[in-house]
Structures are given as C-alpha cells and as structure tokens.
C-alpha cells in the first residue's frame, strides 16, 4: 500500500474546512460591513443637526440657557451679512449650535408668514454652503409675551401667534 501522501491529504482536508468556515461566516453573518459613502455621511449629518435643533428647544423656560424659541424671540430682525456681521444678535444660539455641531459649518435662516406672505431672513451666516450640505427644519411659535420678555423686534399683536421655521443648513468642513 502506498501511504506516501497522507500528510498532503490531511492538509487538503484542513484547507477545505478553513475555506468552508470562512464562506459560511461571511454569508451567514447578519452584519454587513458597509463602506462609508457620501449619502451615509449626509444621513449622519442630517440626524445630528436635526437633533441639535431639538435639543436646543428642549431647555426649560426658566433655565440659565435660553431655549431656541427664546433665542429666536430675542432676534432684532437685522439680517446677518458675511463676513462682517455673521451672527447678528443671536450669539447665544450660535454658541449652542457650535457646541452641538463640532467640525461643522452652518447657516440659519428664519422663514415665517407675515401678512399672508412668506418671508425668509438670514439670521446666521457662517459661509457659503458646501456641496454636501443638508437642510433641517424646526418650528417655533412666538407670541407677544415671549417676544417682549426677550426684547426682540418681532411686531406681534397681543393675540397673535407666529410660527417661525428655523432652517439650519449644515455642512462638514
């Protein structure tokens, strides 16, 4: 009997087991490693900027830091300009956004309905929006009470409500 190649046979068997195991692990694993693509980065950015606006608006009214509604109510209605007057009088909102969105540049626009017409004002300009920028929105409602408390220049009647859309355009740098 010729038993010269026994080691080779064992080696072949070992290799076959290894290969089968590898293929099984790859095909049966539930987690597929997804390479980062541009869209995945957009999804992430959209989520964190949306969260940032929500978090900013959740501060209780009597806390030390003003919430988003209070910040917007304090606006003096002077549009921002680049690069001289980037934040207007919304420094507090800008500081909050900078803290929540590190390594990210953003612009904030305020859209609202005045006398039946849509108005869009630039409130914060941090630069020209980049190629992969995402836009998220959050709504706040202003009343005469909040505006006069915060010293803003929104001219609202005693019984008037104004819904303001805070539009955040964010892009990574």
């Amino acid at each position: 009997m010729n038993d010269k190649a026994q080691l080779h046979t064992l080696e072949g068997l070992g290799a076959a087991v290894l290969m089968t195991l590898t293929i099984l692990t790859i095909t049966q694993s539930t987690m597929i490693v997804t390479p980062q693509n541009e869209l995945a980065i957009d999804v992430h950015l959209e989520q964190i900027s949306s969260d940032a606006l929500t978090v900013l608006d959740r501060n209780p009214v009597d806390s030390d830091q003003y919430n988003l509604t209070e910040c917007i109510a304090s606006w003096d209605m002077t549009e921002a300009s680049y690069p001289d007057n980037m934040t207007g009088n919304l420094d507090e909102l800008d500081a909050g956004l900078q803290y929540l969105l590190p390594d990210t540049l953003y612009n904030v626009d305020l859209a609202y309905i005045e006398n039946g017409d849509l108005k869009v004002d630039n409130a914060i300009i941090r630069g020209p929006a980049g190629k992969n920028s995402v836009v998220t929105r959050h709504f706040v409602t202003l009343t005469n009470e909040t505006v006069s408390e915060m010293g803003g220049s929104w001219n609202l009647g005693e019984t008037e409500l104004r819904v303001v859309e805070v539009r955040l355009t964010a892009w990574e740098v």
Binding site: I32, L39, Y112, F139, T143
Partner: protein, 154 residues
C-alpha cells in the same frame, strides 16, 4: 503540436488559475452588494420624511398647550368664549403651517376636531384634552393621525 498536447504537466496551474478567478468573482460580487446595500439604506433614510412628520406632530402638541393658555387670556380680556378663541388661534396656526410646509412641496393639514372638558365647563382646569386631525403628504409618504389626542393640562 502533438508533443504539446501530450504534455499534461501544467494542469494544476491551469486549475488553480480557474479557482482563483472564481474566488475573485465571488469577492467582487460580495463587495458590490455591500456598496449597494449602503447606498439604498442611506437613500431610504434621506428620502423618508421622518423628522418632518415628527416635527409637525410635536409642534402641534406644543402649540395646543400654548393656544390653550392664550385663549384663556383672550377670554379674560375680551368677551370671547374660550372655545371660540381656541378655534380662531388654531385656524391661524394651521394656515401658517400649511404655507410653511407648502414651500417645501409638502401638503399638511392640521385642523381641530373638538375640545374635551371633563365637566362640560371651559375653565383652566376643566379643558384636559384636545382632538386634532393631522395629515401630511409629500407625494410619496402619506401620514394621517385622525384624531391625534393631545393632553393639554400637563
């Protein structure tokens, strides 16, 4: 030529070449699938207006509470009843929301159904729940909450 045909020494090399090329094809298919899966899942996450719907819902909840206290204020300074004042303020809110969403090509409707009062009176403590119809449509996603129950005395 005849001698080359009879020469069978390179068969293992030819076979391993075939095996390696098959493995490469398999790997390429796997990598491609992973990229496609990443693209489709990110695209779906971007396309679905989750945040817009949630925002509409949450903001309507917040506003119902705000409108409640404003209508009591109006009631105390004018002779308008609380339900009337509530109706007017809510209509005003609804019109503004419609316009602000329309700018982005989305149709929303927020309309009030009824104000619930446990005792039938409309004092600050009695109004506990407001029923509101909320619909949202961006052409692909259609969301309806009819009615949305909003607890306003919290």
């Amino acid at each position: 030529m005849g001698s080359l045909r009879k020469d069978t020494k390179g068969q293992w090399i030819a076979l391993s070449g075939l095996v390696i090329s098959l493995i490469l094809i398999g790997l390429a298919v796997l990598a491609n699938q992973a990229i496609l899966a990443g693209y489709h899942s990110s695209n779906a996450a971007l396309e679905f207006p989750k945040e817009n719907i949630r925002e509409l819902n949450l903001h309507t909840h917040d506003n119902a509470r705000m409108i409640r206290s404003m209508s009591f204020y109006i009631n105390s300074t004018t002779n308008e009843t609380v339900p009337d004042a509530f109706d007017q303020l809510f209509d005003n809110y609804s019109i503004q929301m419609k316009k602000l969403y329309a700018v982005h090509g989305e149709v929303v409707d927020v309309s009030m159904v009824s104000i619930n009062s446990t005792t039938g009176k409309y004092t600050m403590d009695d109004i506990d729940m407001v029923l509101v119809n909320i619909t949202y449509d961006d052409g692909i996603t259609h969301y309806v909450a009819e009615p949305e129950l909003i607890e306003v005395n919290k």
